[in-house]
Each structure stands twice: as structure tokens, then as C-alpha cells.
Amino acid sequence: MSALRADASAALAIARKDAIAELRGRQIAGSTLFFATLVLLLFGFALGPDSRRLAEAAPGLLWLAIVFGSLLIVARLHQLEAEDGALEELARYPIERHAIYLGKLLAGLAAVLVLGGVLLPVVAILYGIDLAAAWPALLATLVLGAIGLAAVGTFYAGVTVRMQAREVMLPLLMLPVVAPLLLATVKATSAALTANALGDLGAWLQLLIVFDVVMAVAGAATYGHLLEE
């Protein structure tokens, strides 16, 4: 088996294991979806009943909810590994460290995509937005945004998983790093919802691609050090 195939096989096995555990345990889906929907509802109450104001704020509120939800997702995915020494056991398998990172990233990506897929129609209903015409651009933004969040989140969840105050440290470390992603996804979503802003959309999507590649490569290169004591 070539090294690349071995890495891919290990990464898929890790992601599949996380998916099975989540489908059975429902440790992430319930809390994250409820929390993110609640964030959207509370922002809606805070902004008041002005439908134009709500529609303008919708891209920002959507992505804030996805970012907050992704914090819970990556933290929980790593907490599963920390229970009963599973992370140490995982680190002892004869596989490349970047394969472990990629496996956790894939699991996080799937969960963030599900979160985004649920929140998009929720935003459309709550804030009165028509998504029908913009869905290809919104889908591209969601996928690129989710990759970036999973890449950064997986790394910082690995940094904080052994810390006592990990619930506090994870947002403190992760949120400043995802600020450019938040800006790009909000602008891209706004551009997608505005029919005459296709030029802007392309630029923001390019920025997201660069962000995703840089973060994923940096995470894969350094994640192995986090697994050693």
C-alpha cells in the first residue's frame, strides 16, 4: 500500500469512527444545532422587527452562528478522544500524524456542513431572505468556510484538549484566527445575495481558498507535536 493510500485510509477510518460515534451518541448535533439556532433567534430579537435591517444583517449573523457552533463541534470531537486515554491510544498507532489531523478535520468538516445546511433555511425563514437564486454561490461559500473552520478548529482543539480551562482557551485562541474567514464568508454571502456583485464574490471566494490551504497545511504540519507529552 502506498504511503498516500495508507494516510487516506487512516484519515477516513478516523472520520468514519467519529461519524458513527456521533450518529449513535448524538453528543454534538443536538446541543450545537439548538445553540446556533438560539443565537440566530436572539440576534433577531435584538435587531427588532425591521425586515430590511434583518435582511442586511443576515449574512453576518448566519456566519457568527456557524462560527460559534463550530467551536462546540471541534471541542466535542476532541473531547471524545480525550476520554479514557483514546487520544494517547490514537497517537500510538503507526500512522502519520497528518493523517490523524486530516481524519479529525474531515469529521469536523462534515459536522460544520450539516450545521450550515440547517442554519441557511433557518436564516431564510427568520430574516425573510430568498435563497433560491443564490444557492450555488451560497453552497460554495459554505463549503469553503466550513473547510477553514474545520482546519483551524481541529488544530486549536488539539492545542487545548489537555488543558484544564479548554472551554475558555479554545474560543480565545480560535476566534482571532478565524476573523479573516468570518469577514470573507460574510462578504461572499452578501455578494451572493446581491445579484450585481459577482466580481466581489469571486475575490472573497479566492481569499477563502487561500485561507483554507494555508490553515490546512499549517495544521497538518504541526498537529503531531500536540499529540506528544
Binding site: 485510509s9 458513527i20 483514546a86 491510544e89 500510538r92 506528544e228 507529552e229
Partner: protein
């Protein structure tokens, strides 16, 4: 518990004159306290060695360093000639480690936990290996059950079963008899005998000195992070590194 046939794959790694384990002035600090304070020893290939000593002696720390789970603070440790820090990937391919924690996933079944381990170990005949491992540790009937409902003893048995996937040349056992009933303890003894017969090197840390010394070729006693004494065959104290010797000062 029905009697099961214990099958352990024979050692397949190359036979070289290098010792199975060699440490030189190996030390590990946690903050300001030294869990290991400079241990030098050599363990021959195929030897079964008992690590003895009270709580806090450094047995677990030594095993975790050899398993690449902990980095040494000072000194070196090698498995089959491969340095645990520099050649960690080569070391991981050669070891099987039973630690205090089971490292199992509660929401996966017993069979799924072992299948996951078999995949990450790159086993070709994973299903057959998983079935054999489950049968060996007496958990065939519990294969489709989620681990969340397992007792501590069953988790321990499943962790033992996971060690049977692959062909290690060095087996590291940290308190393998803990949480097990009489049948389970006999199973552990049988596994150690089987590894021994297959030419696999075994290091077993245990508070049950009488039990493990009966199975072992040699033993090492640790206390306070220091290697106090070794005995039997297959183990010797390595040469300590002498940094300097102070000459006695004659009185005028």
C-alpha cells in the same frame, strides 16, 4: 468462562543482535519532580521481564516512554535499535501497549473498536484478526454490543484483544491483571506465555510480584524513579555515563 485457544502471531521483525530495549541515563521530569531519574538498562530479545516497585516507582513512565507516548526529558531509549523520539514511527510498528486507560470508544461496539484498530495498523485480513482476537479474550458474544455498557473487566479484556492485532516484537503491559477476575488473570498469564513462546519480548509492570516473577525470565526493581536492582536473565544494567569523578582532597 470457557477455555479459549490463545494464538499469538510469531515475531516477524528482523533478527539482529540489537537488544529489544536499551535505555541510557533515561530521565523524565514532570515539573520539578523526576518520575524517572536516569535509568540505563538493556533487555534481550525474546525475554520476559517483570518491572516491580511501589506506586510512583517510575514503571508506568518507563513503559509510556518506550511506547512513544511520553518524550524523555534526558537520556535515550531505543526499541530494536530504533530511538523512541527520532524513529517513533518505526517503534510504533513494533510495539503493543496495554495502559491503565482502555483507549476505547464508548459509542462503538467491541468489534468496531477492534476493526478501527486493525485498519490503523494496516492489517490485510482485518475481519479474521478481529474475530480471532475477540474469541481469544472471550468476548465473541459481546462483539455487537457497544462498549459503553461494558464492565471494567470487559473493557480490559477488549484492550487486551486489541493488542493481538498485528505482530509486535515488544509487548508492554502496565498492570495487566488489574480489574480482572480469576479467569481474566489466567487469560493474561496465558497471553504472556504465548508471547514468550512466539519469541516476543514482554515487559510487564505489576504489583503482583509473585505472579509475574513466575512467568518472567528476569526482573527489575524500581523505586523513586531509580533502578535499584535487576535479576534473572535477559536484563542487564547499562553502563552509566560518567560525567566526572571528584578526586579525594588530601588533608594538609
Amino acid at each position: 468462562m470457557p477455555q479459549t485457544t490463545i494464538y499469538v502471531a510469531p515475531r516477524t521483525h528482523e533478527r539482529t543482535p540489537r537488544p529489544a530495549v536499551a535505555t541510557q541515563e533515561l530521565a523524565r521530569l514532570f515539573g520539578r519532580s523526576a518520575a524517572l531519574a536516569g535509568i540505563s538498562l538493556r533487555i534481550g530479545r525474546g525475554a520476559t521481564i517483570a518491572l516491580l516497585g511501589p506506586n510512583g516507582a517510575g514503571k508506568t513512565t518507563l513503559l509510556r516512554i518506550l511506547a512513544t507516548a511520553l518524550r524523555p526529558s534526558f537520556g535515550t531509549a531505543a526499541v530494536d535499535g530504533f530511538d523512541v523520539t527520532r524513529d517513533a514511527g518505526d517503534v510504533r510498528r513494533r510495539i503493543a501497549f496495554l495502559s491503565h486507560d482502555s483507549g476505547l470508544y464508548d459509542d462503538l461496539t467491541a468489534a468496531e473498536n477492534l476493526r478501527f484498530a486493525a485498519t490503523l495498523r494496516g492489517l490485510a485480513e482485518a475481519e479474521a484478526a478481529v474475530a480471532t482476537a475477540l474469541a481469544t479474550v472471550g468476548l465473541t458474544a459481546d462483539a455487537p454490543r457497544r462498549v459503553r455498557g461494558f464492565s471494567a473487566g470487559m473493557r480490559h479484556r477488549l484492550a487486551l484483544g486489541r493488542m493481538l492485532l498485528g505482530t509486535p516484537s515488544l509487548v508492554l503491559l502496565d498492570e495487566p491483571h488489574a480489574t480482572l477476575d480469576a479467569d481474566g488473570m489466567a487469560l493474561v498469564d496465558g497471553l504472556i506465555e504465548a508471547w514468550k513462546a512466539a519469541g516476543v519480548t514482554v515487559l510487564v509492570a505489576s504489583h503482583q510480584a509473585d505472579r509475574v516473577i513466575r512467568l518472567a525470565d528476569g526482573w527489575a526493581r524500581l523505586d523513586g524513579g531509580l533502578l535499584l536492582e535487576v535479576g534473572g536473565t535477559g536484563i542487564s544494567v547499562g553502563t552509566p555515563v560518567v560525567v566526572g569523578v571528584a578526586a579525594p582532597v588530601a588533608e594538609a
